[in-house]
């Protein structure tokens, strides 16, 4: 009687199959057949690295347009290409995302306790927040190494994880398991969007630099002879390293921890070395540019701020056009900084490199005169960056309004003359003012043939806002300084300047800027004979164009600058952004470069996402804990000095005064860098051995 059970089982099977078959028809869900196709193209590892539950879910998201064809983190380019081809989509070339660590060595930080019982960073973290006192330091137990499914991470000699870019797929597992948050998975261009946060490990110099260049990182590259990497690191935050390498007054230096032992690291010499290394090689490094986004941005003003914004917007994948009122790009770098500090050939080479990324530039067109904001919008620009600088000279009012006196000229106008021509300068030149423009005007006059050059400044030498190095150079070259003196009256003969009355001053109470206010001493007037007077007493933005037709209503401040949000640099007109001197008033070149990149970040988010995410914990002040009072375990090493052209060679020519340090000096100077973090720095190896030995001795005693 075998047939009965067999028939029953067969019957059940037939019923089940029929039921399933009917159900499949009745409850059929219209599913895109492409999902199955895409699933077959994916590796089928179900690793979840893409953020979806398995490969099928990932395929569904890709077909639905919720994920890019390159969503799969294992498949890499071939898979992404195959998927894109299958879906008939255009595959956007994309940058790889690679893991990297921010910590320079957790063992440099002070230990909180020494307990050998842990073998997992997360477990150690649960115990008093880890064994080191540093908030950011690597614990070094290698949880990331074990977490990586692709074998891309190994523990390096110094107890820090080392990432193999060849094997890293950018899945981010390591970043998720790291309890200290020191592993970042980022692409080259996203570094551009990064701004310092209080929650990060930041060397003091990095906190101080207005452009937020990762100074310790590029110096470490130079130390190892990796000049290309060093320069690319600089270019992540500063597109003008050749120019800044020559003229930056190094605010970073003021924060350098090395000066607690001897002298600050010559940071700018090192930047200049790396930049000149590229310049002298004659070959340009390849700078990564993100895939085109289809957005276009207009930048008004071709100075450092505008160039910086244009450069980073281009690197983020936008189409950029610069509009410049002068015949050539460069702004104050070209028309304000004299040849002997920044040779035009060097500047031209640098600008050529920036434009080489695919940035268009239209020169000799002025906003308000030749075109309007309305016109730019009509041309299809998604956003506009206004960086018109501060080109209007302030005046002391020595002449009546409208009165033209030969031999009286403003600082910027005077320096501009030397751009294309070789004006005749002779006799005694008096420069009024104490800023960099005044010093530049004085030193330029000396080179152009003046017999004598004097600088009149109403406060003392200590209060001069010019770069200290420039003041020293001017003194060396024989420029006469008249401190605590103010001009009061002009002497003219037939519409020509022949002299000026100067009154002595004394310093009184400090004014709101913290500098002591000069007060005139009555009856101390004295006449100074001269042939040319250069008024270099400050500049301000020229915002007359805002009053012309076709201009949206952009609010200005009482300091005659463009008003915008501090956090985003966005004005009341949403598509209009601003930054640099026309927003802050006259500042340093490196300030404008920082503002340009900051604006690029805001514009990038605004045109791609419609809103600008705030930067949480944005670092604006120096972090208190990072300002050490002393450093131990570091021996004194003198700072290098850059070669300087002799005095005889300087006068009468516009030859560049300062040279570049050589390779040996660069490596030596890079070795002086303590490679600081917020709480830690590198000790000298020998010194460390000595201190450890001493400690051991005391222990045995």
């Amino acid at each position: 009687m075998l047939w009965a059970p067999a028939a029953v089982m067969g019957g059940i099977a037939v019923v089940a199959a029929a039921g399933l078959g009917i159900a499949a028809r009745v409850f059929h869900v219209e599913e895109d057949p492409r999902i199955k196709g895409v699933t077959n193209l994916l590796p089928g590892a179900n690793c979840g690295g893409c953020g979806f539950a398995g490969c099928a879910a990932c395929a569904e998201a890709i077909v639905a347009g919720k994920a890019e064809p390159n969503a799969c983190v294992i498949g890499q380019t071939e898979t992404a290409l195959a998927v894109a081809q299958y879906l008939g989509m255009e595959m956007k070339e994309s940058e790889p995302q690679i893991a990297c660590r921010e910590c320079q060595g957790g063992d440099r930080a002070t230990k909180r306790y020494d307990y050998a019982g842990f073998d997992d960073c997360r477990a150690a973290m649960l115990y008093f927040h880890g064994p080191t006192k540093c908030d950011h330091g690597c614990i070094g137990l290698g949880t990331c190494v074990r977490a990586c499914a692709f074998g891309a991470i190994s523990m390096g000699e110094n107890g820090l994880p080392v990432f193999d870019p060849e094997r890293c797929v950018g899945c981010g597992t390591c970043a998720r398991v790291c309890p200290k948050g020191i592993i970042n998975v980022i692409s080259e261009t996203t570094r551009i969007l990064h701004w310092n946060r209080y929650t990060e490990c930041l060397a003091p110099c990095r906190q101080k630099c207005p452009a937020q260049i990762d100074i310790p990182r590029y110096i470490q590259h130079i130390k190892r002879g990796e000049y290309a990497e060093a320069l690319l690191t600089v270019k992540e935050a500063n597109p003008l390293p050749l120019s800044t390498g020559r003229v930056c007054p190094e605010p970073c230096n003021l924060a350098c921890r090395r000066q607690l032992q001897d002298e600050p690291v010559a940071i700018n010499y090192l930047k200049r070395y790396a930049a000149d290394w590229e310049y002298e090689s004659g070959r340009r490094l390849h700078v990564p540019v993100a895939p085109d986004t289809g957005k276009s941005i207009a930048v008004v003003g071709g100075g450092p701020g505008g160039l910086s914004a244009a450069y980073y917007l281009r690197r983020l994948g936008h189409a950029v056009t610069i509009y410049e009122k002068m015949p050539k790009l460069g702004g104050m770098l070209r028309y304000g900084i004299p040849e002997y500090r920044l040779p035009k050939a060097v500047l031209d080479w640098e600008l050529e490199g920036i434009l080489g990324l695919g940035i268009k530039a239209v020169t000799d067109v002025e906003l308000g005169r030749d075109f309007t904001i309305e016109f730019l919008r009509h041309e299809g620009f998604d956003a506009i960056f206004l960086a018109v600088g501060a080109w209007r000279d302030r005046s002391l009012g020595l002449t009546e309004d409208g009165e033209v006196v030969e031999g009286l000229v403003s600082g910027i106008k005077y320096l501009e003359r030397f751009q294309d021509a070789d004006p005749d300068v002779h006799g005694h030149v008096v420069v009024i003012g104490g800023g960099n423009t005044a010093i530049d005007a004085a030193r330029t006059s000396l080179r152009a043939g003046a017999d004598k050059v004097s600088i009149i400044y109403r406060r003392s030498r200590d209060e001069m806002p010019a770069n200290p190095a420039e003041i020293v150079a001017a003194e060396e070259e024989g420029i006469a300084f008249r401190f605590l003196s103010a001009p009061v009256k002009l002497h003219t003969e037939g519409g020509r300047v022949v002299g000026i009355d100067v009154q002595s001053m004394r310093l009184g109470e400090p004014d709101p800027s913290g500098r002591r206010r000069p007060e005139p001493i009555p009856g101390s007037e004295e006449k100074v004979d001269c042939d040319l007077i250069v008024e270099a007493v400050g500049q301000m933005p020229d915002l007359d164009f805002l009053q012309t037709e076709g201009m949206p209503a952009v609010p200005t401040t009482r300091w005659n600058t463009v008003d915008a949000s501090e956090d985003t640099l966005q004005t009341d007109v949403p598509f209009l952004f601003t930054g640099g001197d026309c927003f802050t008033g006259p500042g340093l070149m490196v300030d404008a470069i920082g503002a340009g990149r900051y604006a690029a970040r805001s514009i990038h988010y605004w045109v791609t996402e419609g809103e600008i995410p705030p930067i949480e914990h944005r670092q604006t002040q120096l972090i208190g804990e990072s300002l050490f009072e002393s450093i131990t375990g570091v021996s004194s090493k003198p700072r290098v000095h850059e070669p300087v052209v002799s005095l005889e060679e300087r006068l009468g020519t516009f030859k560049e005064v300062e040279g570049t340090i050589d390779e040996d000096d660069a490596i030596y100077e890079a070795g002086r860098c303590l490679n600081c973090g917020t709480y830690c720095y590198d000790h000298d190896a020998e010194m460390e051995a000595v201190t450890t030995a001493e400690a051991d001795d005391t222990a045995t005693v």
Partner: protein, 191 residues
């Protein structure tokens, strides 16, 4: 009262996982994260209940009248497998939310030994329809309880210093053994 005792007994004393050691594969496989373990637990309760009802009906109204109860294992496999597939198809069409929540677990437990085991235990204990239903739900709830507790332990286990040779499934099995011993404490509560 009997039903309460039946439920307590199924959840704690004769826990399907820790006392009878059925359903070990999802227990080790899907217990690394609390959230997935919870999903798995709910899916098991859902499928077990359905499977118990259908297998009980098939047994009492088909196999017993025809006197071929010795084929119950084979018949149950067929019924459960077809049923889970059917449920999956149905959910996909009519309850997208439930499908997204349980979807990935359903195929995993198509012929899960816990589901199968409960279906067979229903028959072995000669339960009526009502007590069968209570027993099935309670047993599956016991599974859910065990896997959720276990996932909580395993999440912490990740942070513990475990000798290299014992890492992963090895230490998971040891932990499961210890948990099982702990559940022995319930023995004797219900006869």
């Amino acid at each position: 009262m009997d039903l309460v005792l039946l439920a307590v007994g199924a959840i704690f004393v004769n826990n399907i996982l820790l006392a009878q050691y059925l359903g070990n594969c999802p227990f080790c496989g899907v217990s690394k994260q609390l959230s997935t373990a919870a999903g798995m637990g709910v899916a098991v309760i859902f499928v077990t209940t359905l499977a118990s009802i259908f297998t009980w009906l098939v047994y009492h109204h088909l196999l017993v009248p025809l006197d071929i109860t010795y084929l119950k294992t084979l018949a149950f496999i067929l019924v459960i497998a077809a049923l889970v597939q059917l449920v999956e198809i149905f959910l996909k069409r009519h309850s997208r939310v439930l499908y997204d929540a349980l979807g990935i677990y359903l195929p995993l437990i198509t012929t899960n030994c816990a589901v199968m085991g409960i279906a067979l235990l229903n028959i072995k204990h000669e339960l009526g329809f009502g007590s069968m239903l209570v027993f099935a739900i309670a047993s599956a709830a016991g599974f859910a309880l065990a896997i959720i507790l276990f996932a909580g332990l395993r999440e912490r286990l990740l942070l513990a210093p475990v000798p290299v040779a014992m890492r992963g499934t090895a230490i998971a099995l040891v932990t499961a053994g210890v948990m099982s011993l702990a559940f022995l404490g319930f023995a004797g509560m219900v006869q």
